[in-house]
Structure formats: structure tokens, C-alpha cells
Symmetry: D2
Subunit: 480 residues, 4 copies
């Protein structure tokens, strides 16, 4: 059962009972909550596609641990081809979901944790890598959906973990004994936490010796004792609650806050516990991998955005208008930079000591910079092309009202041959693509803020070599 079907995935959740709060209420059967079913659909589709003849080519490969067929979501990246295949897989799925499908953070965590704990083992003689491989075998056997907990709540951002007034602003080890560790803290923006089987915690920043209790990484079941998921409110979540005006007809994303109320983690699931010098590199690796992942999925969403804009032009009677074509090219210019830099970051990846490949950080972060800024402009352009109707389409309920329904049907008609209903559906999709706060904010802040991406670019580029090129051409002699 290395590669689950959608049914098996849904089935497997029956034994999981996460503690979850949604809009102020503790929810018992969270997988049936109308705010969660749309999320489940997205994850379930990834399982479905893995069993689809075309999708299989993108999603399934051979495990380098067992040689069996395995989902790419639960696998180390052991070649440039693996990284390239990741990009293509994510784009393929994004085309079919039009947003986040919440399995990439776990995938990226696996390799980033792997790269660094291998180094840690070499230095300290720890056995972390072996444990991770053990966990990964099980994850592959069970085809787990895994989310990764990286972003701490951080308190005052100008202060380091130990300097915070409240010591719990970064996830930390509050106790350790022979059986395991106990952790306390909270991670925010935890994409897909509720609908995953497991999570992997990763430190959110570099640490000094003083911060060593904060240098902690581990795997944990999503319903572990003391783990609390709190749904964060986005802009459009009432629509699925009311069953109307949905936009994307089937899928949505969410990113709860996850609180660790003194959660016990047995040693077998602990991958870092105090070796502070690996905390920073681990999150840097994670960041690079995850910006690289965005290169695939957001480029795929970009294609949906462009398609929606072009279709809106058609529905408005404005096919093949010169200025709209020019705008579509500008949108493509952005999505292609995102995609192209991600492909190049795969091609120019480097083998680490563990055998896991790390992406080129300059190219991966450049890709994300285009997502963080220029993709927002592509979304604005979609609104510009679609027209003002994105602002204020009457509700499906108005269309259902016998008094005004027919009037709306009459007056909101666009080009001949397209029903008003379909036109309205398209505007709702565009509204969702443009105004679903979690998606849009993810473009900007997902996988770190643009400033982080910039710093990473700057730290990884060889400016001195470039200065030498200039000196050489200017005829300036180097000094000894």
C-alpha cells in the first residue's frame, strides 16, 4: 500500500482525532466541518492523481530506500532530476486545484532535516539520520500526508529566542528524559496541519549556544496530546459555510496556528535536540527547498490566473484585443521567470554529504522574489482585464430569488453564447484567486518574507568574483 488512493486517505483519517478550534468553537469531528471539507478535497486529489495514468508519471517514483513505488511527497531529493520532477509535479497538481494542496512543507522538511542531521551525526556521532530514515520508511509505507511546522510566533522580532520576555515565543524543549523530550510553544501559518497525519517541526531561525533548547526538530502525530490546532480566519471562509458564491468550486486552503502545550515526543521521533549550529542551516535549507516548491505550484496557479483573465475577456466580448494580449504577456513574463528560475535551480543543484541534493539558492530565491512581488501585479492585471464585476456580483441566492433572479440573468449577460451563470461562476473564481487572503499572503510570505529571500540571494552570490571581473576589464591590477 505504498501509494494510497483518495479513499484510503480519507479512510485513514478516521483514527485521527486532532484537537481543533474553528471560529471560537472546539470541533469534534473536524473532517466533516464545512470549512475543512474543501481542504480535504485538495489533499485527497493528490492521492487520486497518484493513481491516475497521467498523474502517476508526475507524482509517483521509486523509493531510494526500498525500491518500491512511492509518492514523491515522502521522499528525499537524491538527484537534480528529482528536483526537476518536483517542480513539474507541483505545477501539474496546481493546474487541477488552483491553489495550495498542503503537502509540500512536509516533503521539503524531510530533505532539509536530512541534509543537516547527517552533518550533525558526522560531527557529534548522533544517530538522527538513521531515525529520520526509519520515520521515512513508515511514511512511505503509509503514504502519509505530512505538514511541516517552521514559523514560530516570534514575539518581538528584534529579539532572539532567549531574549524574549516570554520564553515560549519560539518552540522549545522544556523537559528531556530517557524516553524523550517535552516541547512548548506555537507555530503559526501551519498549512494543512489539521488534515495531515503527521507534522515535522523545524526551527525557524539560526540559534546561538544560549538558544540551544530552541534548536529542536521532531516528527509528531497531528493528534498528539497537547497539540492544539486553531483555525485562522481568512477573507472568504463564509462562502463554503453557506454553500454558495464559492469561486473555486471544490478546493480551498487553510493554515491554522498549532499550539504545543507541553507535548511529549519520544526519542525515536526526535531529529535535533540542542545541536544549535544546525538550526539555522536547517531552516535555510528548508526555505530554499520551499521557495523552489513555490516555483512549481505558484506557476501552476499562475496559469489558472492567466486562463481566468483570458476567459473573462472572451466572456466580456473582448477576445483578441491588443491591450489585453499585451497584459497577458506581462503575466506570462512573471510566471515564466518563477518557473524558469526554479528549473534552473534544479539543474544547478548540489549534492550534499548525505546524498540529498540542495537547490541553487540564488536561483530558487530569485524565483520566489518574482512570486512575492510581480505575481501580485499579475493578479491585479487579472482584475483589470476581468473588469469591475469582480467587486460586487450579486449572490447566488439573489439569482435563486424568483423576483430578481430573472432580472439578474438578463442584465448580467455578457457575450452571446455564454450563460450568465457561467459568467458569474468565472467572476467568483477570479474573486477567489484575487482575494482569498491565505493564498495571496502565501505568495508574499510563504517560505519566508521577501527580505529573507533577498538576504539569501546576497549571501550566496559571489560578489567578490564579480568585482574581479570588473577590475580585470577596467585594467585595475589586483593587489597582493
Amino acid at each position: 500500500m505504498a501509494v494510497k488512493t483518495a479513499e484510503q486517505y480519507l479512510d485513514s483519517l478516521k483514527n485521527i482525532h486532532p484537537t481543533a478550534y474553528i471560529l471560537g468553537e472546539k470541533v469534534e469531528n473536524v473532517y466533516e466541518h464545512p470549512l475543512i471539507t474543501h481542504m480535504l478535497n485538495a489533499v485527497a486529489l493528490t492521492y487520486e492523481l497518484a493513481n491516475d495514468p497521467e498523474g502517476k508519471k508526475y507524482l509517483v517514483t521509486e523509493s531510494d530506500l526500498t525500491g518500491e513505488p512511492v509518492s514523491r511527497f515522502v521522499k528525499f531529493y537524491v538527484s537534480p532530476e528529482d528536483l526537476l520532477a518536483k517542480i513539474r509535479m507541483l505545477k501539474f497538481i496546481a493546474h487541477r486545484i488552483g491553489g495550495c494542496y498542503m503537502r509540500c512543507t512536509g516533503m521539503d522538511a524531510i530533505s532539509s532535516v536530512g541534509v543537516e542531521i547527517y552533518r550533525c551525526d558526522q560531527k557529534y556521532g548522533t544517530k538522527y539520520f538513521e531515525r529520520l530514515e526509519g520515520f521515512l520508511r513508515i511514511a512511505q509505507q503509509n503514504d502519509y500526508a505530512i505538514f511541516s511546522g517552521v514559523t514560530d510566533v516570534k514575539g518581538d522580532r528584534s529579539l532572539r529566542p532567549v531574549e524574549q520576555k516570554d520564553p515560549d515565543m519560539y518552540l522549545r524543549i522544556v523537559d528531556r528524559d530517557t524516553k524523550g523530550i517535552t516541547v512548548r510553544g506555537a507555530k503559526i501559518h501551519q498549512t494543512g496541519s489539521i488534515i495531515a497525519h503527521w507534522g515535522i517541526a523545524v526551527p525557524a531561525r539560526n540559534m546561538t549556544k544560549e538558544d540551544k533548547d530552541y534548536a529542536v526538530s521532531f516528527a509528531f502525530p497531528t493528534d498528539a496530546d497537547g497539540v492544539i490546532h486553531v483555525y485562522g480566519r481568512g477573507t472568504l471562509e463564509m462562502r463554503p459555510m453557506q454553500g454558495c458564491d464559492l469561486g473555486n468550486a471544490r478546493f480551498s486552503k487553510f493554515a491554522p496556528m498549532v499550539i504545543f502545550q507541553d507535548v511529549f515526543i519520544p526519542w525515536e521521533n526526535v531529529f535535533l535536540a540542542g545541536e544549535y549550529e544546525y538550526a539555522g542551516p536547517m531552516v535555510i535549507d528548508f526555505g530554499n527547498y520551499h521557495r523552489h516548491s513555490h516555483g512549481g505550484c505558484k506557476c501552476g496557479v499562475g496559469d489558472v490566473i492567466i486562463g481566468a483573465a483570458a476567459l473573462a475577456a472572451d466572456y466580456n466580448g473582448l477576445s483578441n484585443v491588443s491591450h489585453i494580449n499585451a497584459k497577458i504577456v506581462e503575466m506570462l513574463k512573471t510566471t515564466m521567470a518563477i518557473y524558469g528560475c526554479s528549473v534552473a535551480a534544479s539543474v544547478e543543484s548540489t549534492k550534499s554529504e548525505s546524498g540529498i541534493y540542495t537547490v541553487d539558492p540564488v536561483l530558487a530565491n530569485t524565483s520566489k522574489l518574482y512570486e512575492g512581488k510581480e505575481l501580485h501585479e499579475a493578479i491585479r492585471t487579472m482584475i483589470e482585464i476581468a473588469g469591475g464585476m469582480v467587486a460586487d456580483v450579486p449572490s447566488d441566492k439573489d439569482f435563486d430569488n424568483p423576483d430578481i433572479g430573472p432580472l439578474l440573468d438578463k442584465y448580467l449577460k455578457g457575450v452571446d453564447g455564454v450563460s450568465t451563470k457561467d459568467r458569474v461562476r468565472l467572476f467568483r473564481l477570479i474573486e477567489k484567486l484575487a482575494f482569498e487572503s491565505r493564498d495571496i499572503v502565501s505568495n508574499i510570505h510563504g517560505a519566508g518574507s521577501p527580505e529573507t529571500h533577498k538576504m539569501t540571494v546576497l549571501r550566496n552570490v559571489n560578489l567578490n568574483a564579480m568585482k574581479k571581473l570588473a577590475k580585470n576589464l577596467a585594467g585595475i591590477k589586483e593587489k597582493d
Copy 2:
């Protein structure tokens, strides 16, 4: 009673009974509907400010018709100073509302209709201008809130009004007799329609002889027989319905669709009825005035956006960080271009035959182009500065929950000295500033689409004169 108080305004609505549908239901007492009270608050504040010692300087002036104190919202622009005062008034109010206050379209319609029907009267001997002055006197006496209906539903945008399959895709005269005209059609994006006393219809495009039944302008009470207001759904309207997670604590905007089901308009309120050559100029004038208005109000909202971003940096512990300062300057660069071009468009305004001044079209439209594109980037920058919390703050209801409220309070704390509650309030405001679809789409499509603005710039600039400058400097002799 030339300048109403807020109480008088609210009181005056008691006699108005508009036909209104909201989310599929016909609403009897619309002014008490939770989706409408936030809108009412904004309009009411304009009345309040007109009676405030500081606000009065911005909002109240002397009527050029009666010499009495009068709100600037119900007055012709009879000097460059009037236009400059408009910009400053709108900025002043926007600072206090943080969004739209829904009285500008009416103000701009008054002058644009005035400019053109004066010309019509001169050519055809009609008496439209006299009628408009009559209407304006009453509007001044009663300090009416007036909205303007410009944007028709338009159907297939590649077709002219008469070419549409359904002849009602643009508002048109379906009957005329000695008492008045009867009109049919629908206008969308009708900012403030429900909470106004009157509306003024303005044609949405230029017309040919064949379209002459569509060349129609008139004033009408918002509860006239056959006028139906349909609330259009925005992204965040459930928040006021549920009384939580509000963002802007008091104010919102909306822009219903208004359907004219064979509405009778007596001649005394008709300002254009078939003189098709004035339809185009009227909407062009309106557009220019209204882009100019945006220059004041959106610049004011821009100040709120910048303030919110700067405050979020403080609350995150990131005051005076170099890259944040750099971003704030970029935001100011945009808002100042919007404001500066609007001020200049006032200074370089031109007196029309009627005595009403028209703004410089190139400068007014340039201002709007910055709003339509670069302001969106300023909003993205606000999100970038504020951080990922904009995506998914837990609900106020979660904070109220005794189990998790204290945990949220603990973990969502930012810099010392600022309560978690205030921090969350700020994130909600930022969410609203960034994701309220009606506001954001208004930046792009309010007062016409960016393409319209570009065409207006191109048509009003003297490219031939510029070519001559180039020829002269290149030493190219002009031919005769």
C-alpha cells in the same frame, strides 16, 4: 438647513423606502440591516464633519447659486480653488473613514452634466441647465446625499447600445410623453445607491444618432417606483453580519446594482433626452472629475495604508528598520504622484462656457493610472511589512473562548507594551485594507478602467507639438 447634521441625515431617511435585495432577500427596513449600517456610518460622518469646527473648513463653502453656506458635495466647481478644495476635502474625510464615503459620484455628476447641457442648450435651445440649477437649489437646501449612475451593464462590450441583442443593456428611454420619460436598463457598481436621497443617471459612453434613446440623463429619488437595488457580494461582508473580526471598526462601502424597471421621470428632472452628441462628452467630463476625486480620497486612504504598515512594523518590534523605511518611501512615491497630479489638474483647470471649471484631463487621468496600478503595489507592500499574520489571525470568537483565548493572547503577543488585542485589531484593519474587494477593485476600475484613462491621456495630449519640438532640435525643416 442648508448643511445637515448627521442626525438630520439619518432622520431624513425615514421617509425613503427603497426596494432593496440583500443576499437573496428583499429587505424592508434596509437602513437597519447590519450590512448597511456601516455604510450609513460613513455617509453620516460626512455630515458630522461638515458641522465640526475643523471639518467645516474643508466641507462647507458658499453656494454660488444662493450665497448661503452649502456642502461642497452639492455644488458646481466654479474655480480652480473649488477643485483644489475638493481634493483637500476628500483627503481629509478619507483619513477619518479609511475608505469610501459614497458622496463623490453625485458631486462629480452635477458639474459634468452641467458643463455639457449648457452647451446643448446653446445649440438646441433646450432648457436643461435651468432645470439642473433648479434641482441643485433643492439639493443644496436639503443637503442631499446623491449618487450617480454611470456604468451600464453593457452586455457584449464589443457592441454599441443599439447593436446589442437585448436592447436594454444600456439604460434607455422606452417611452416619452408630455409629462416625462420612462426608462429601462440597469447600472452596476452604484456606490452608495441605497443610502442616498437621489441619484443622477449619466450615459456610460459616446453615442451615435442610432443610439439616441440611450442618450439620457436625469435625477431620480432612490425609492422611485421601479428602481430596484441589489446588493453585490464582497469579500468581507460576513464580518459585520457576525459582529466580529471587523477590521475597520466602523465603516464600510458597498456598490449595489440598480435596475430601472420602466421608471417614470418627470421632465423637470430630465437633463438629456436624445441629444446624443452630448452623451460622450458628459461621461468623459464625469470620468475626468471622478478620477480627480480619487486623487484626493485614495491618497487619503493611502495615508491610512502607510500608517497601518508603519504601525505593524512597530508592533512587530521592527521600528526604524532600513528596508522598511525604504518601502514606506516607495509607498509615498505612489500616493504623492496621485495627489500631486490631482493638485496640478486643479491648478491647470479650464473654464467652460457654463462657468464650471473642468480639470486638466492628462493630469487627472495620470493620477488615476497611479492609483490603478502602483497603489496595488503599495497595498502589497503593506502586507509585506505587516507579515504573514494578515493571512490567518484567529477570530475574535477564539479569543473569547476560555480554553484557547489565554493561549492566543500569550502567543500572538508582539512587541512589549502593545496588547495582543491591539495587535490583532491592527492586523484586521490591514486585512480589510488589503482584501475588501470593493475597495481594491475601485482602485483599479473606479471612474473607468485603466485603459480608459490611457486613452483619455492619449487623446488630450498634443503629440504633434511634441514632434515639432523634436524636429526643431534635430534640424529637420517642417514642410508646408
Copy 3:
């Protein structure tokens, strides 16, 4: 003779004998040097226009010192109208010169020095303002061309004047006695130094008590003993030397380095000598005025750039092509922001204690930011529209060669009705507009670098007021 003619200007130079070096040679009769005559033409045209019926309206006004007609170039700004008139004058002249006419720095220095020394006099009882008025009367009587020396060579930019290894990296007083002061140092980028009658030195930065010998301002004749002008090499200066391939057929700009080799300045021409606290404000005022000046002249040059691009499209057979129109609007968007913000900076100017008006710093600096960045893109757009011919048109000498001249004439023909020669003239103009290094660098660094402009914006905007607006709307209570 308050307003000179062009002939009188040229005549007046006969008595001036500046020490000048050009491309390695000391030049005796500098005004006849082929590299200087093009500069002289530009300055002379400003005198000619002041005597032209149309030009007079822009260039000549009444002296507030004597009530006589006087050139605006030698006058304090004593009203918002003066500042607005400056913008319009500069745009008017730039249309006719297509570049710099080298009289604005002096004009801006007069008022910036005036504003601050009036304050100095009030504090210290000095008599600087009286002296400046005396100088200005003479300047008005003689209608002097004045340049202003602001930018010191600065050495290591991370160090203050007194901290520099070589104390002469900022202009300084090396001696003072009862008759006057002696100064040493060097100013670079001295637009128009050689062809002016006088210069006015202004400090380049804020000063501390230790730097007080660097806090010096004074007027000096351009041929004063010890003043050395060194021509700096630009990209295209061989063209006038060879009399071919000129681009702009008549005008050019230059910006020598001016070295002060222990130059004696009598007290009557000294306007600041040690009162260090006025050094910073003086250059800040100068910067703001001069960025404001750029708003007029560069917008005028922008019109030439747009005209040249539009004409090239015509000559290539591409009139009224949709994508070219779209590009022209983008160019206008930039020039209108430059112009609009400058107009607004005039309207929102403030009266200083001296009666001289200072421009709104936020708007003036915003205008310059658009020049510094977006205008460069407008120039790129001109090249894009014009096509590759801008890169490599054969020389006029090739056209004169009987063997290949006719072939070039045949093959470089564009649209019918335009001679190849005129087409080539236009490409040369475009080459000059795009690649004359002094002009282009002036867009970026003239009147301070973009970083300076950004800092000025940031320091002059009331961010706290904006934060309060946000708090108020979010429902956050201010603490006491």
C-alpha cells in the same frame, strides 16, 4: 539693462578670462572652443527668449527689490506663484533646448542661501542677508548668468569633512582676515561654470561644530584668481569637435570640475563663514528647490523625448500602432508625475521668515524620484520605439562619400515622404537624448542622489499622524 539680449550676454563675456582646461589642454579663448560654443548657445537662448514676445511672459517678471523688469533667473521666490512660474518657465525653455541651459543652479542657490542666512542673521546678528540682497541687485542689473557650486569631491563618503585624510575634500576656509576669506577645495559636476559670470558656493552637507571651516557660502567671479575649470569628458563630445553627427543640432551641456586654489573672497561676497548649523539646512533647501527645478526642465525634455519617439514611429511607417501608443502613455505617465508633483510642491509651498517661499519637500523630492528612475525607462522606451538604428547609423561623412553616400541614401530610407537625411537626423537626436552621459546622469544624480531624495521624503512626512489614523480606524485606543 536689467534684461540682457543674447548679443549683450555674448558681449559681456569678452571681459571674462576663466582658467580652463579641456581634454588636457589649457584653453585661452574658451568661449570659441568648439566644445563650448554649443553650451554658449543654450545660455544665449535663455537671453533671447527673455526678449521674445512669448518667452518674455515666462522668463521676465518684476523685481521685488527694485520693481523693475528682471529675469526670473536672478530673483528670490517670494510667492507660490513665483515657484509655479519657475516650473513653467523651465519647461518652456527645455522645449526649445532639449536639455540643460545651465542657469537654474544659480537661481536656486540665491533663494536657498537667502532663506538660511536670514535665520542666521536673526540668531547671530550677522549681516549676510543684506549682502546677498546687494549682490542680487547687481546681478539683476547685469542679468548675470550664475552657476552654483554645491557638490564637493567628498573623498571617502563614509567620513565627515574633518575626518578625511586630506582636509581639502570639502571646500573650506583656509584663512580669514579683515578683508575677506581664502578658500580651498574642489566642486564637481559644476553645470555651466565656464559660461557663467559668477558662481555661488553652497556647502554640500550638514556640518558639526568641528566642521565649521567647511560651513562656507560666497559669490565669486568665474575668472577669479585661483579658480580652475576642468572640463569633464562626456560620451559624445567629439561630435561637435568634428562638426558632424550632432544629434541636437545646436545645444549641449557640460559640467566641469571647479578647483579653488586658495581663492580670496572679499567679505562683501561672503554669505556664510563658520555658522555651521546653517550649512545643512542651506543645502537641504537648495536640494529641494533644485529637485523642483528639475520638475520643470526634465518634464520639458521629456516632451522632446516623447516627440522624438512618436516621430521615429512615423518615419518607420508605424504611426498609430497600438503598442506604440501604449508605450507613449507610459512615458507620459512618468513626465506627468514629475510635472504634477512639482506644480503641487509650488502650490503647497511655505513662507519662510525671510519672505522667501520654500517648496513642499515631500512633493518636490517625489517628483525627482520619478525623474531619477522612471524617466530612464522612458528613455529606454524611446529607443525601443525608434528601433535598432539608434545603435549604429553611419556617419554624416559616409553620406558625403560619393561611393557609398547614394547607397546609404537608398537603403536607409524609411517611410515614403521623409528624406533619408531627416530620418538620420532624428536618429542622431535620439542617440543624443539617450546616450549623452551628462544629461542622463543628471536625471539620476542631479540635485542629489535618489537616496538623498528618499531620506528627504522620509524626514518630512508625518508618519506618526498616519499611524494615528490607522489606530483610530482599527479601534485602538491611544495611550497617554
Copy 4:
């Protein structure tokens, strides 16, 4: 002798006697002309690097025709790896030349002609491909420098070839007999024409049946009878003439106009002669390949630009200044998009019938769009970082003048530890990088104009597939 040394290259030119005009004069020994030696240096370096241990890895590979070592410049692209290797080679060389080395057009022509004439042969039974292989064998044996003539002078760009008033505005066959064809016309912007051994003509646009005499491709020696090279004037060419103020101390580029005065081409060198339907695809392929080439070389030049800017900051005493770092990241963001999209265009290349691989057109053209627009901004940024000195550094001759040389040395000193001379050398390099018109215009118009790139993107992207994705997500049913 499959891979020439630099000496062999220079030697091989002794037998070539092109007809060349430079600045109005017919030049007999063109390779010794001071305007040409800098060009020769660049080409010679490519030969030198092919014999250098490190360079060899980038420049030399195995011939797929003969199996012998061969320069990549004279080889078909027969795999994605070949295309990737091209990008890396071009970047490697550009680092050492800082500009164009004038051998890529020929390289790109070989494959683009090959792809299409293979198809032509299949359809018409012609033997073009065999001929091209024959030519290529000789080219490989002799390691020829080859340029490609694509851009016709085009006359009125709104007219097709046959519609032009003068039939010679596009290169055409004026005669054909059993021995060969005779061609007439002119190609402009012929990078490297004079210093190449051979040229390959390629049609500049798609052709219809009526244009068939214009559908012509062939190889020709650069000194063939009737071939006239006319040097086009750039902005900085006087510097090498005068031997001072050079900027890039050793290398320059040029792009003459090449006139074909009834040139006879024997059939063995003719690759297309009338099969009009292959003209368009041939130039499209060439364009795609050449935009892809720019991805490598301009990214390499970009590294020099960034290095020069960073070094200027150091020399000014501004190392590690926050706003400068931020600007450098923006520059990298552009160069990485150029590079990343080119790498991806290689990875996603497609095998054509001939076995030659064609690059992904969307990615290759996107790369070029960033070069055409954003790279110009990177250059502006370099000027911004470097400071105003770029505008007007005194000449080397001034530094040599004993009177002022020491003063310049004193006053133009920057940070301690860097000689004034080196600082000036750097400013001259920056001047050249920013203002050499042929280089800068090549960024914009090289390999076709940005509009061409946009059209190519639009034509090659599957918008319908994207619309379907949107429909699917919106819940819109496809119609049959």
C-alpha cells in the same frame, strides 16, 4: 587544425580583403584600423580561450559530423546539453570580455537554417541540408568566425517586401542561373561582419508567395565581390581612436551595415532560394536561438555590471551599505531571471526532424524580455550606485597635464587604499557599460525587438489550455 589559436585566427585574416568604409573613408587594411583592433581582440580571445585549460571545457566539444574536437561556435545543437553548454560558454566568455564577442549570430544561424531546410528537403526534395553540412564541415575544419545577416533595412515597416516602393529594401535574388544566384539588398546591425571569415544570410521575416525572391539564405565570404561593409557610428568610438579614456581597456563591439551590390553566390553555398514558406520559420528559429544566446552572454555582462557597481561602492567608501545591498539584489533578480529562463529553455528544448534541438520559445523569449527592459534598469542602478562621477570624469590627458594632473589626483581620490587612477579607470568602465550605444541598444533590439519577443511568447503559449483549467475550477461545463 579543427580548433584555431588566437594567432592562427589573426593570421587567417591576412588573406581576406573586405571592402569597408569607416567614418566616410574607404579603409584598405581594415584589421589595423584603431576602431577595429578592439573588435579583433574580442574575437581573438574566443580562440585563445578555446585553447585554455579551463576555457576548453566551455568552448570545445566533439563534432557530431566528424567526431573531432570542434569549437561550439561552428556546430549544430543536437541535444539539450548542447544548448545548456552554449549558455554556460557564453556566460564564461562574457565575464572575460564584458560585452559582445561577435560569434553567436553565426552559431545560431547554422542550427536555425539547418532545422528548416531539412524540412524543405523533405517536402521539395531539395538538397539544402547536405550543402549546409558540407559548409559546416569546412567551417569546423577551419574554425571559421561566422556572422549572420538577418536584419534587412526594411524601408516602410508597414509594407511587405514586394509592396515596398524600392524593391531592394529586403535582400532578394535578382538573378539566378545554373551556377548560382545574384543577390541585392542591405542588412543592418551586422555584428562582427568585418572581422568574420564568412557570413550566413537569413531572411528577416515571414514571406508569402509573392515575396518568394526574398526567401533566400546562403553563405558568403566577407570579402566577396559586391559586399560592402559600412561602419556605423556609436557613442564612444573616438576613445580608441585617441587611445585614451577607454573604459573597457581592451574590447569593443561594432555592428556594420552590409550592402550586397549584386553579389554572386554559387549554388553550393545557397541554402534557400524561393521556398518562401520556410523563410518565416527560419527567422523565428534564429530569433529563439539568439534570444537564448543573449541569456548567456548578457547575464555574464550583467555580472560585470554588478561587480562594477559593487566595486564603485567600495571605492566611494560605501561598502556594506544597506540600500546598496538592496539595489544589488534587484540587479541580480534581473540577471538571474535572464539566466534561469535560458537554462530552462535548454532543458525544455525539443528535437526537430533534423535531429537539431530547438529551444522552448516561451522561456527563451521571456529571458530576452527581461534583458530588453529590466537590464536597462540594472544599468541605471549601476549609475545610481556609482554616483555622479560617471557623467564627467576629466580625460586621461588632463591627468597627464603637469599643471592640473596632481590636482586631479588629489581631488578625485576616494577611499583610502585605492589610487585615484584606479578609481577613474573604474568610472570609465562604468561609463562604457552604461553608454556604449551598440551594447545598450543590443540589449533592447538584439535578436529582435521586445514586441517581437512578446508576440512569440503569445503565439507559443497554450492559452486555451489555461482557459480550460479556469473553467474546470469554476465549475463551468465545456460545450461540445
